[in-house]
Protein backbone atom coordinates (compact mmCIF):
# COMPACT_ATOMS: atom_id res chain seq x y z
CA UNK A 1 0.00 0.00 0.00
CA UNK A 2 1.26 3.46 -0.83
CA UNK A 3 2.08 5.43 2.30
CA UNK A 4 0.71 8.61 0.73
CA UNK A 5 -2.78 7.16 1.23
CA UNK A 6 -2.42 6.89 4.98
CA UNK A 7 -0.94 10.28 5.85
CA UNK A 8 -4.14 12.26 5.18
CA UNK A 9 -6.04 9.91 7.51
CA UNK A 10 -3.43 10.24 10.24
CA UNK A 11 -3.37 14.04 9.97
CA UNK A 12 -7.16 14.23 9.88
CA UNK A 13 -7.53 11.86 12.85
CA UNK A 14 -5.05 13.95 14.82
CA UNK A 15 -6.80 17.25 13.93
CA UNK A 16 -10.35 16.06 14.54
CA UNK A 17 -9.61 14.12 17.75
CA UNK A 18 -7.78 17.15 19.14
CA UNK A 19 -10.66 19.44 18.17
CA UNK A 20 -13.61 17.38 19.42
CA UNK A 21 -11.96 15.93 22.55
CA UNK A 22 -10.11 19.10 23.52
CA UNK A 23 -7.19 17.20 25.06
CA UNK A 24 -3.78 15.93 24.09
CA UNK A 25 -3.54 13.43 21.24
CA UNK A 26 -0.36 11.50 20.50
CA UNK A 27 0.47 9.48 17.43
CA UNK A 28 2.03 6.07 17.99
CA UNK A 29 4.28 4.06 15.69
CA UNK A 30 2.76 2.98 12.42
CA UNK A 31 2.66 -0.77 11.79
CA UNK A 32 1.71 -3.07 8.98
CA UNK A 33 -0.60 -6.07 9.02
CA UNK A 34 -1.16 -8.28 6.05
CA UNK A 35 -3.26 -11.11 7.48
CA UNK A 36 -6.53 -11.05 9.37
CA UNK A 37 -6.40 -8.96 12.50
CA UNK A 38 -8.48 -8.62 15.63
CA UNK A 39 -10.53 -5.46 16.11
CA UNK A 40 -11.04 -4.04 19.56
CA UNK A 41 -14.77 -3.97 20.19
CA UNK A 42 -16.14 -0.88 18.43
CA UNK A 43 -15.16 -0.35 14.82
CA UNK A 44 -16.48 2.27 12.41
CA UNK A 45 -15.79 1.27 8.80
CA UNK A 46 -15.87 3.56 5.76
CA UNK A 47 -15.51 2.04 2.28
CA UNK A 48 -13.79 3.78 -0.65
CA UNK A 49 -14.27 3.07 -4.35
CA UNK A 50 -12.97 4.92 -7.40
CA UNK A 51 -9.37 5.53 -8.55
CA UNK A 52 -8.48 3.74 -5.32
CA UNK A 53 -10.42 1.14 -3.43
CA UNK A 54 -10.42 -0.25 0.07
CA UNK A 55 -11.61 0.73 3.49
CA UNK A 56 -10.69 2.64 6.62
CA UNK A 57 -11.55 1.44 10.12
CA UNK A 58 -11.55 3.52 13.28
CA UNK A 59 -11.11 0.94 15.96
CA UNK A 60 -11.34 1.28 19.76
CA UNK A 61 -12.48 -0.68 22.77
CA UNK A 62 -15.91 -0.19 24.31
CA UNK A 63 -14.62 1.79 27.31
CA UNK A 64 -12.85 4.25 25.00
CA UNK A 65 -15.90 4.52 22.73
CA UNK A 66 -18.09 5.33 25.75
CA UNK A 67 -15.64 7.95 27.03
CA UNK A 68 -15.29 9.58 23.61
CA UNK A 69 -19.06 9.62 23.03
CA UNK A 70 -19.61 11.08 26.52
CA UNK A 71 -16.97 13.76 25.96
CA UNK A 72 -18.40 14.73 22.56
CA UNK A 73 -21.90 15.00 24.10
CA UNK A 74 -20.69 16.87 27.20
CA UNK A 75 -22.50 14.37 29.40
CA UNK A 76 -21.84 10.93 30.87
CA UNK A 77 -23.61 8.42 28.66
CA UNK A 78 -24.74 5.33 30.59
CA UNK A 79 -24.81 2.81 27.76
CA UNK A 80 -23.70 2.41 24.15
CA UNK A 81 -27.13 3.46 22.90
CA UNK A 82 -28.30 5.05 19.65
CA UNK A 83 -26.92 8.45 20.63
CA UNK A 84 -23.49 6.96 21.47
CA UNK A 85 -23.49 5.05 18.18
CA UNK A 86 -24.47 8.18 16.23
CA UNK A 87 -21.64 10.04 17.97
CA UNK A 88 -18.92 7.52 17.04
CA UNK A 89 -20.34 7.36 13.50
CA UNK A 90 -20.12 11.14 13.27
CA UNK A 91 -16.51 11.03 14.51
CA UNK A 92 -15.68 8.63 11.65
CA UNK A 93 -17.51 10.95 9.23
CA UNK A 94 -15.57 14.00 10.39
CA UNK A 95 -12.15 12.33 10.12
CA UNK A 96 -12.89 10.73 6.77
CA UNK A 97 -14.29 13.95 5.28
CA UNK A 98 -11.11 15.85 6.17
CA UNK A 99 -8.80 13.07 4.91
CA UNK A 100 -10.70 12.66 1.67
CA UNK A 101 -10.58 16.40 1.00
CA UNK A 102 -6.77 16.14 1.15
CA UNK A 103 -6.72 13.08 -1.13
CA UNK A 104 -9.03 14.82 -3.61
CA UNK A 105 -6.67 17.80 -3.59
CA UNK A 106 -3.88 15.36 -4.50
CA UNK A 107 -5.92 14.31 -7.52
CA UNK A 108 -7.49 11.04 -6.34
CA UNK A 109 -11.13 10.57 -7.23
CA UNK A 110 -13.32 8.14 -5.33
CA UNK A 111 -16.60 7.86 -3.48
CA UNK A 112 -17.23 6.89 0.14
CA UNK A 113 -19.80 4.73 1.81
CA UNK A 114 -21.54 6.02 4.94
CA UNK A 115 -19.80 4.65 8.05
CA UNK A 116 -20.95 1.22 9.25
CA UNK A 117 -20.52 0.60 12.96
CA UNK A 118 -19.56 -2.85 14.27
CA UNK A 119 -19.66 -3.70 17.96
CA UNK A 120 -18.83 -7.00 19.62
CA UNK A 121 -16.14 -9.10 21.22
CA UNK A 122 -13.53 -11.28 19.52
CA UNK A 123 -14.04 -9.81 16.07
CA UNK A 124 -11.52 -10.22 13.29
CA UNK A 125 -11.27 -8.53 9.95
CA UNK A 126 -9.69 -9.99 6.82
CA UNK A 127 -8.85 -8.09 3.65
CA UNK A 128 -7.75 -10.27 0.82
CA UNK A 129 -4.63 -9.07 -0.94
CA UNK A 130 -4.64 -5.65 0.73
CA UNK A 131 -2.19 -4.88 3.48
CA UNK A 132 -3.44 -2.66 6.24
CA UNK A 133 -1.43 0.14 7.77
CA UNK A 134 -2.36 0.93 11.33
CA UNK A 135 -1.63 4.08 13.27
CA UNK A 136 -2.48 4.07 16.98
CA UNK A 137 -3.60 7.45 18.35
CA UNK A 138 -3.54 7.91 22.11
CA UNK A 139 -6.15 10.24 23.57
CA UNK A 140 -7.14 11.09 27.16
CA UNK A 141 -10.09 8.73 26.58
CA UNK A 142 -7.97 5.79 25.40
CA UNK A 143 -6.47 4.39 22.22
CA UNK A 144 -8.04 4.79 18.78
CA UNK A 145 -6.45 2.86 15.93
CA UNK A 146 -6.72 4.24 12.41
CA UNK A 147 -6.58 1.17 10.19
CA UNK A 148 -6.24 1.93 6.48
CA UNK A 149 -6.29 -0.67 3.68
CA UNK A 150 -6.39 1.05 0.28
CA UNK A 151 -4.97 0.02 -3.07
CA UNK A 152 -4.91 1.39 -6.59
CA UNK A 153 -7.76 0.07 -8.63
CA UNK A 154 -6.65 -2.89 -10.72
Amino acid sequence: MRVEYINPFVEAAYNILTEVLGGEVNRGELYLKSTSMPVMGVAALVGLAGDVEGRVIFDMNMATAMKIASKMNNEELASFDDLAKATITELANLITAQAVTKLHDLGFRFDLTPPALFTGENMEISDHDVEALIVPMTTDQGKVEVNVAIRDRM
Binding site: I16, E19, V20, M72, N73, N74, D82, L83, A86, T87, T89, E90, N93, L94, A97, Q98, V100, T101, H104, P114
Partner: protein, 145 residues
Protein backbone atom coordinates in the same frame (compact mmCIF):
# COMPACT_ATOMS: atom_id res chain seq x y z
CA UNK B 1 -36.63 42.60 50.52
CA UNK B 2 -33.85 42.07 48.02
CA UNK B 3 -34.99 42.58 44.48
CA UNK B 4 -33.27 41.90 41.20
CA UNK B 5 -32.43 45.58 40.91
CA UNK B 6 -30.13 45.33 43.94
CA UNK B 7 -27.63 43.17 42.07
CA UNK B 8 -25.29 44.57 39.46
CA UNK B 9 -25.87 43.04 36.07
CA UNK B 10 -22.89 40.96 35.01
CA UNK B 11 -24.16 40.31 31.54
CA UNK B 12 -26.38 42.92 29.94
CA UNK B 13 -26.38 41.17 26.59
CA UNK B 14 -29.78 39.68 25.79
CA UNK B 15 -29.72 36.08 24.48
CA UNK B 16 -29.30 36.02 20.70
CA UNK B 17 -32.16 33.60 20.29
CA UNK B 18 -34.81 36.12 21.30
CA UNK B 19 -36.63 38.45 18.94
CA UNK B 20 -36.98 42.15 19.88
CA UNK B 21 -40.42 41.28 21.33
CA UNK B 22 -38.81 38.75 23.69
CA UNK B 23 -40.18 35.61 22.02
CA UNK B 24 -37.68 32.99 20.77
CA UNK B 25 -36.73 32.47 17.13
CA UNK B 26 -38.15 29.13 16.01
CA UNK B 27 -35.76 26.64 14.42
CA UNK B 28 -36.35 23.42 12.48
CA UNK B 29 -33.33 21.07 12.58
CA UNK B 30 -33.02 18.61 9.65
CA UNK B 31 -30.22 16.06 10.18
CA UNK B 32 -29.99 12.27 10.00
CA UNK B 33 -27.41 12.12 12.81
CA UNK B 34 -28.99 12.07 16.24
CA UNK B 35 -25.69 13.35 17.60
CA UNK B 36 -25.47 16.37 15.28
CA UNK B 37 -29.17 17.24 15.79
CA UNK B 38 -28.67 17.15 19.55
CA UNK B 39 -25.51 19.23 19.32
CA UNK B 40 -27.25 21.92 17.21
CA UNK B 41 -30.21 21.86 19.62
CA UNK B 42 -27.99 22.34 22.67
CA UNK B 43 -26.06 25.22 21.13
CA UNK B 44 -29.23 27.02 20.02
CA UNK B 45 -31.34 26.51 23.14
CA UNK B 46 -28.46 27.75 25.29
CA UNK B 47 -28.88 31.13 23.55
CA UNK B 48 -32.65 31.21 23.88
CA UNK B 49 -33.63 29.83 20.47
CA UNK B 50 -36.47 27.33 20.38
CA UNK B 51 -36.09 24.11 18.39
CA UNK B 52 -39.68 23.60 17.21
CA UNK B 53 -39.02 20.45 15.24
CA UNK B 54 -36.45 17.95 14.06
CA UNK B 55 -36.44 15.75 10.98
CA UNK B 56 -34.19 12.79 10.18
CA UNK B 57 -34.20 13.13 6.39
CA UNK B 58 -34.92 15.70 3.68
CA UNK B 59 -38.37 14.41 2.89
CA UNK B 60 -39.52 14.68 6.51
CA UNK B 61 -37.84 18.10 6.69
CA UNK B 62 -39.88 19.46 3.76
CA UNK B 63 -43.10 17.99 5.20
CA UNK B 64 -42.45 19.53 8.60
CA UNK B 65 -41.59 22.90 7.10
CA UNK B 66 -44.85 22.99 5.12
CA UNK B 67 -46.79 21.93 8.18
CA UNK B 68 -45.21 24.51 10.49
CA UNK B 69 -44.86 27.48 8.12
CA UNK B 70 -45.03 30.40 8.97
CA UNK B 71 -44.06 29.37 12.49
CA UNK B 72 -40.46 28.52 11.55
CA UNK B 73 -37.89 31.32 11.41
CA UNK B 74 -34.92 29.25 10.24
CA UNK B 75 -34.01 25.73 9.09
CA UNK B 76 -30.64 24.02 9.61
CA UNK B 77 -30.18 21.49 6.80
CA UNK B 78 -27.70 18.63 6.60
CA UNK B 79 -26.54 17.79 3.07
CA UNK B 80 -26.03 14.01 3.04
CA UNK B 81 -29.18 12.27 4.26
CA UNK B 82 -31.19 9.17 3.35
CA UNK B 83 -34.47 9.30 1.34
CA UNK B 84 -33.98 12.90 0.22
CA UNK B 85 -30.69 14.85 0.38
CA UNK B 86 -30.46 18.36 1.81
CA UNK B 87 -30.05 20.07 -1.57
CA UNK B 88 -33.33 18.65 -2.91
CA UNK B 89 -35.07 19.44 0.37
CA UNK B 90 -33.73 23.01 0.17
CA UNK B 91 -35.09 23.38 -3.38
CA UNK B 92 -38.52 22.16 -2.30
CA UNK B 93 -38.63 24.42 0.73
CA UNK B 94 -37.62 27.46 -1.37
CA UNK B 95 -40.24 26.52 -4.02
CA UNK B 96 -42.86 26.46 -1.26
CA UNK B 97 -41.68 29.61 0.51
CA UNK B 98 -39.21 31.81 -1.35
CA UNK B 99 -38.38 33.72 1.83
CA UNK B 100 -37.38 30.58 3.76
CA UNK B 101 -34.14 30.97 5.69
CA UNK B 102 -32.12 27.78 5.32
CA UNK B 103 -28.57 27.30 6.66
CA UNK B 104 -26.68 24.28 5.30
CA UNK B 105 -24.68 22.04 7.63
CA UNK B 106 -21.86 20.42 5.68
CA UNK B 107 -18.96 18.06 6.18
CA UNK B 108 -15.63 19.23 4.85
CA UNK B 109 -15.05 18.47 1.16
CA UNK B 110 -18.56 19.30 -0.06
CA UNK B 111 -17.68 22.74 -1.45
CA UNK B 112 -19.41 22.11 -4.77
CA UNK B 113 -22.64 21.10 -3.06
CA UNK B 114 -22.44 24.07 -0.69
CA UNK B 115 -21.99 26.42 -3.69
CA UNK B 116 -24.97 24.80 -5.38
CA UNK B 117 -27.04 25.24 -2.21
CA UNK B 118 -26.12 28.93 -1.96
CA UNK B 119 -27.13 29.44 -5.62
CA UNK B 120 -30.42 27.68 -4.93
CA UNK B 121 -31.21 30.08 -2.10
CA UNK B 122 -29.55 28.79 1.08
CA UNK B 123 -28.68 31.82 3.20
CA UNK B 124 -25.42 30.52 4.72
CA UNK B 125 -23.54 27.34 5.64
CA UNK B 126 -21.65 25.85 8.56
CA UNK B 127 -18.87 23.27 8.17
CA UNK B 128 -18.61 20.46 10.75
CA UNK B 129 -17.24 19.82 13.35
CA UNK B 130 -19.66 22.34 14.81
CA UNK B 131 -18.16 25.10 16.88
CA UNK B 132 -20.59 26.92 19.19
CA UNK B 133 -19.37 30.40 18.29
CA UNK B 134 -19.44 29.71 14.55
CA UNK B 135 -22.96 28.23 14.69
CA UNK B 136 -24.35 31.19 16.64
CA UNK B 137 -22.61 33.78 14.43
CA UNK B 138 -23.88 32.29 11.17
CA UNK B 139 -27.42 31.82 12.42
CA UNK B 140 -27.79 35.24 13.97
CA UNK B 141 -26.37 36.88 10.82
CA UNK B 142 -29.01 35.09 8.71
CA UNK B 143 -31.72 36.27 11.07
CA UNK B 144 -30.42 39.80 10.50
CA UNK B 145 -29.30 40.47 14.05
Amino acid sequence: MISKQDFPAINERPPEGLKPDGTPYKILVVDDSMFVAKQIGQILTSEGYEVVGTAGDGFEGVEKYKEMCPNVDLVTMDITMPKMDGITALEQIIAFDKNAKVVMISALGKEELVKKALLLGAKNYIVKPLDRKKVLERISSVLGK
